[in-house]
């Protein structure tokens, strides 16, 4: 029940700023649902007057009005679709933006545990189900209900008993169809699951086709597909059976209603209570009922789906970011000294300790390489310096300021990271380097920086220069992407750079360019290098070896290399072996 409240709350929040549009929508929807009800009235007038032998011009006038009304009703319906769609998309686009901004503010632990695909589904998929609900529910359900009520009222005006009976009949029909639909949902869900099972199985088998072919197991795989297909065939039959129940009930009720109305009309006509035109009118009003009754039942499912989507988005919006920024001090300009002050870090979910009392003083402008096995804590240490996580004990002090006292904009401006896996966006070169303008620079400076970093030739060869869209047709080698990553950091002129060097797979020429670019970037700045390969600490002034979250060795690369007992030397020997194999 709590979730029901939260999703209605979210819907209300979305619609509140759009109250005026909502009123307009209400008006146009009312017009669109009531206009078709005038048709049978015109038909009656036509029949009764024709039978009574009225003037031909009167009859032609009524016929003309009938055509005009039919067209007008459709025009208004299109108009209401436009208004409803527009409102639904603007409201849910706001929601998408809000949810995306919120998701970006959440910490890396959240992102590590939530695949990008899931977040896309949450932010766009769930929002789209809400969009659909707003448009379809508004257009179909509200219009359907208005039409139903209108028809019942108009029939009651002719004869209140017939009207009352029709009202009861409509309510009962809706109740039955909704009940049947709810009963059908498990069968439909089961069918979808069985079909997903078949498709999943085929996907696995095609993916592993070579194994199956090589092992002569094709027929075995085909028979497993037959087993899954059988399960699906039976589930499909149950689901269709349930759908047939619904359809039969709707059609049966509707046919019964039409016939009963004919009988009622006949009885009233025989007592001279109504004209033959009115018999026709009563019959026509039953024909109007069918579509609304069906669509209302259909749309209830859509509402449920949107409700579930809204609840999930709400849950995302309610997640509190682990890192809160409260600017109390400013970082100085120029190279920044870094001090880890008895820093400890344990994962909040399982309490696993990753950094266990690290004390480290990094002087301004020096380059420190962090070395250690996977899980030794070197990546976490770097993330602490970027304040992507907060220490659970001790403090990280950059430029003499506790990082927790630094504002977000200030921090991001002065502390940068360069990774070797550079994710490119489907956007222009400019947006890719400045990250959609987060680093405000003019085009001349931008071109100059790219030129300095060795991308000048590449840029000159692009069809639209800085406006060239990346990701689509324009490819980038891994090395060029790395250079773009360096440029991203370089543009902000940071005082501290974290360098995350994964194993690189670039050709020698580009590798040299990347090395040169990195040298340029690190000049006059403090740098922490996470070295996955020991060769990459060559540029470090100092190497810190970590093991199980503690500093176990600390010294210049040369000193550690020459110490026959050092762990660093052992690691180096191991790596050399690995390379030659």
């Amino acid at each position: 029940m709590a979730s029901r409240n939260t999703h209605w709350q979210l819907f209300a929040e979305m619609l509140r700023p759009r109250r005026r549009a909502l009123v307009g929508l209400g008006l146009i929807v009312t017009a669109a649902s009531l206009l078709p009800l005038a048709g049978p009235q015109l038909l009656r007038a036509f029949i009764d007057r024709a039978v009574a032998g009225a003037a031909l011009t009167t009859l032609l006038g009524i016929a003309g009005a009938y055509v005009a009304l039919g067209v007008a009703a459709q025009v208004v319906t299109v108009g209401s679709a436009y208004v409803a769609t527009r409102m639904a998309w603007t409201a849910t686009n706001d929601l998408r933006e809000r949810a995306a901004a919120h998701a970006l503010s959440l910490d890396l632990a959240f992102h590590g545990a939530t695949p990008p695909g899931t977040l896309v589904e949450r932010i766009d998929g769930d929002a789209t189900s809400i969009t659909k609900m707003f448009t379809d529910v508004v257009i179909k359900v509200v219009m359907g209900l208005l039409t139903l009520v209108g028809a019942v009222v108009l029939v009651a005006l002719e004869d209140w008993r017939v009207g009352a009976a029709m009202g009861v009949f409509v309510a009962a029909a809706i109740a039955v169809v909704v009940a049947l639909r709810n009963r059908a949902i498990p069968a439909t869900t089961e069918e979808r699951a069985a079909y997903a099972g078949v498709v999943g199985l085929v996907a696995e088998q095609i993916d592993g086709a070579e194994d199956l072919r090589a092992l002569g197991a094709g027929e075995f795989a085909v028979s497993r597909h037959e087993v899954a297909s059988g399960a699906h065939a039976r589930a499909l039959r149950r689901a269709w059976r349930a759908a047939a129940d619904i359809w039969t009930a709707t059609t049966g009720a509707f046919a019964l209603g039409s016939i009963l109305m004919l009988v009622a009309g006949w009885a009233l006509y025989r007592r001279d209570a109504i004209t033959v035109g009115t018999v026709f009118l009563l019959f026509q009003y039953v024909q109007v009922l069918r579509r609304p009754i069906e669509t209302i039942a259909e749309q209830l499912e859509e509402v449920q789906r949107a409700g579930a989507g809204a609840t999930r988005i709400r849950r995302l919006l309610d997640k509190v970011p682990a890192i809160a920024f409260a600017p109390r001090a400013r970082l100085p300009r120029g190279p920044l000294p870094v001090r880890f002050d008895n820093v400890r870090f344990a994962y909040p979910d399982d309490g696993r300790i990753v950094v266990d009392g690290v004390n480290l003083d990094i002087s301004a402008g020096s380059v420190v390489g962090l070395v250690g096995h996977t899980g030794s804590g070197k990546t976490t240490l770097a993330r602490l310096a970027l304040r992507l996580v907060d220490p659970t004990g001790g403090a990280v002090v950059v430029g003499g300021v506790d990082l927790r006292d630094v504002g977000a904009a200030d921090l991001r401006r002065h502390v940068a990271i360069v990774t070797q896996d550079v994710q490119l966006f489907d956007a222009s070169v400019r947006d890719n380097v400045t990250l959609f303008g987060a680093s405000p620079v003019d085009d001349a400076t931008l071109s100059d920086v790219l030129d300095q970093l060795g991308l000048g030739g590449w840029l000159a060869g692009l069809p639209d220069g800085l406006d060239t869209e990346l990701g689509g047709g324009v490819g980038l080698s891994a090395g060029q992407a790395q250079l773009l990553g360096v440029a991203r950091a370089f543009l902000r002129d940071p005082g501290l750079v974290v360098l995350d060097e994964a194993s690189s797979r670039t050709d020698p020429v580009t590798a040299e360019l990347v090395e040169a670019a990195l040298d340029r970037l690190l000049t006059g700045r403090t740098a922490i290098v996470i070295a996955h390969r020991l060769r990459s600490v060559d540029r470090a002034d100092r190497v810190v070896v970590l093991d199980h979250g503690r500093v176990v060795e600390d010294g210049s690369p040369a000193a550690l290399r020459n110490d026959p007992t050092s762990r660093y030397r052992r690691l180096l020997a191991l790596e050399m072996q690995g390379v030659s194999s």
């Binding site: 029949i47 990008p116 695909g117 696995e204 039959r237 046919a255 004919l262």
Partner: protein
């Protein structure tokens, strides 16, 4: 999606006819019931006419009102029954045809050589769309034939009945239907384009979101969150425009179809006004016309739908053909018994006797790679029961050589003999119990470990246990929740890279083949485990059969036991006899 070349036009129809033939009885039964269902409205219209004429007393020698109503009740009840049974017959037909198409496609893709083997497709993602969407498209197309026939049948009856009431009037109201059909086609084509644009706009939004969350570290560290959301806002605004266009056009199309009823009824009113005054056109006739016209208004839509489905089916059939032997789309509808009606347990396949370890020779053997490279001019002898190690740098063509020999790597040249006999169909020949293979990146399926290892073949528990032991996988299995009954694969227990390779080795060993091919078993194993694996594998060779073995390996463990070493370098192969000093 471009239009199909002219000579392809018949392909969808051919497959459609094949599909009808594949289960002719059920299709005809279904079609007959659906025809009855479509015919019912013709009767309903006539009975309504009779009922209204009875009310006004215009029925010259017609039915009385109570009779008309009773018949109406009977027809409606019959129609419901017909619908219900049609649905049940059709559900069986539908599921069976889906399964048939998928089975034939799957068989072609998984066949180990032979006539029934299709060209293996690259990229599982794209071919899944064939199994899921294209199969659906073809069935919907054939399903549409039934509806179109029914609708046309009804239309013919309705037009004849109406013409007998008033020929001129019938012609006039039939004309708008043609106009609606044409306009609907034009609008539908436009809608298709608008929808495509909308889908692209959506892809840009989801693409940006996906990129942002994949690169969340870069975005956060650059403080680019606000800018990123601003970009999202731009893309959202663009999608708002495409969505609006889509929705409005869809509604226009819908409105166009709905207003047909009103416009044609209005036309009838205009034309019959004079006759009705004179009593020549009765209220019953009007009821007949309004009833028929509301049904006929759906005709252009049905016809349009079938045309759209035909176009989809053309694309679908072409894509299916690529997976089938000889690019022959009719292979997709080859009849084949299917066990779908009740839960089915496939029989275990009998075990063929393992032949003696073969002597294999390759002469002028080569594999052409689509993107260049490959291996060429290989002359190699694998004596019966020998152990041959293949080595060489990354990308030299070691795996290509192995896969080519097994018939897994596309086009090959040269000759391969097995105990002196030339092998013509490599893929069909190199399967258990003759050969077994451990790929570099093996795949397991979502099934029990036992099913994964035996792949439907009868095997004693002893053989399975021996294979697990020889592959050094027994300790891992002992730790699994249900032992060999543990469900593994994508939807089961996840195995580590090393476990996966050992499982694949156990799978190959359980096949008890005369020729074993192993591609770089050691890349995901640590030295100790690898040593254990080689030792047990070699111990197992000391038994009754000493299979001929061909392995890719760099490790000393394998080289120690080698009878010969094959060096592959840039697709060129050199063979070193036993005892060659280690180059390292």
């Amino acid at each position: 999606m471009t239009a199909a070349p002219v000579h392809h036009n018949g392909r969808a129809t051919r497959v459609g006819v094949g599909l009808v033939r594949a289960d002719l009885r059920r299709y005809l039964l279904g079609a007959a019931i659906w025809a009855a269902w479509w015919a019912a409205p013709a009767l309903i219209g006539l009975l309504l006419q009779a009922a209204f004429d009875a009310v006004t007393g215009d029925a010259a020698a017609g039915l009385t009102f109570p009779t008309a109503i009773a018949l109406l009740v009977a027809v409606e009840a019959g129609r419901l029954g017909v619908f219900f049974s049609a649905f049940l017959v059709w559900a069986r037909w539908w599921a069976r045809m889906q399964a048939l198409l998928r089975t034939n496609l799957l068989r072609a893709q998984l066949a180990s050589g032979g006539e029934g083997a299709g060209r293996p497709v690259q990229g599982a993602g794209a071919s899944i769309a064939v199994f899921r969407d294209d199969v659906q498209d073809v069935i919907e197309y054939v399903d549409g034939w039934v509806d179109l026939t029914g609708t046309l049948g009804f239309a013919t009856v309705a037009l004849v009945v109406m013409a007998r009431v008033d020929l001129a009037l019938t012609l006039v109201v039939a004309l708008p239907l043609v106009a609606v059909f044409v306009v609907t086609r034009v609008l539908a084509e436009r809608l298709r384009r608008v929808r495509l644009a909308d889908r692209q706009a959506t892809a840009r939004v989801t693409g940006l979101l996906g990129d942002l969350f994949s690169a969340v570290l870069a975005v956060k560290v650059a403080g680019a969150e606000d800018r990123a959301v601003r970009r999202l806002r731009e893309l959202n605004a663009a999608r708002l425009r495409t969505s609006l266009r889509d929705k409005v056009l869809e509604q226009v199309l819908e409105a166009f179809n709905s207003s047909t009823v009103d416009v044609t009824i209005g036309l009838v009113l205009l034309l019959v006004a004079g006759q009705m005054r004179a009593g020549e056109f009765t209220v019953g006739d009007l009821a007949l016309f309004t009833s028929y016209l509301s049904w006929l208004a759906g005709l252009p839509r049905w016809a349009g739908l079938v045309l759209t489905r035909h176009r989809h089916a053309q694309v679908a059939v072409r894509r299916m053909a690529r997976l089938l032997p000889g690019d022959d789309e009719t292979q997709a509808v080859r009849p084949r018994p299917l066990h779908l009606d009740r839960p089915y347990t496939p029989p275990t396949l009998p075990r063929a006797a393992t032949p003696a370890p073969p002597a294999i020779t390759l002469r002028g053997f080569g594999v052409r790679h689509p993107g260049g490279g490959g291996v060429h001019g290989v002359d190699l002898d694998l004596p019966a029961g020998s152990f041959t190690v293949v080595r060489g740098p990354v990308g030299a063509g070691k795996s290509t050589l192995l896969r080519g020999l097994l018939g897994l790597a596309g086009e090959v040249e040269g000759t391969v003999t097995w105990d002196g006999e030339p092998v013509t169909d490599l893929a069909a020949h190199f399967v258990p119990p003759r050969a077994a293979y451990v790929p570099q990146v093996p795949r397991l399926f979502s099934a029990t470990l036992r099913d994964n290892l035996l792949l439907g073949r009868q095997t004693s528990d002893g053989v399975l246990a021996a294979a697990l032991r020889a592959a050094a996988f027994d300790a891992d299995v002992a730790e699994m929740p249900d032992g060999v009954a543990t469900v593994v694969g994508p939807r089961g227990v996840r195995l580590s890279g090393g476990q996966l390779q050992r499982a694949a080795a156990a799978r190959a060993l359980a096949a008890d083949a005369a020729f074993l091919v192993l591609d770089d078993l050691s890349s995901a194993l640590d030295a100790a485990t690898e040593q254990q694996l080689w030792q047990r594998l070699l111990d197992a060779r000391e038994g009754a059969h000493r299979p001929t073995v061909l392995v890719v390996s760099h490790r000393a463990g394998a080289l120690e036991h080698a009878d010969q070493v094959v060096e592959v370098h840039d697709g060129v192969v050199t063979v070193h006899p036993v005892g060659v000093p280690d180059p390292a």
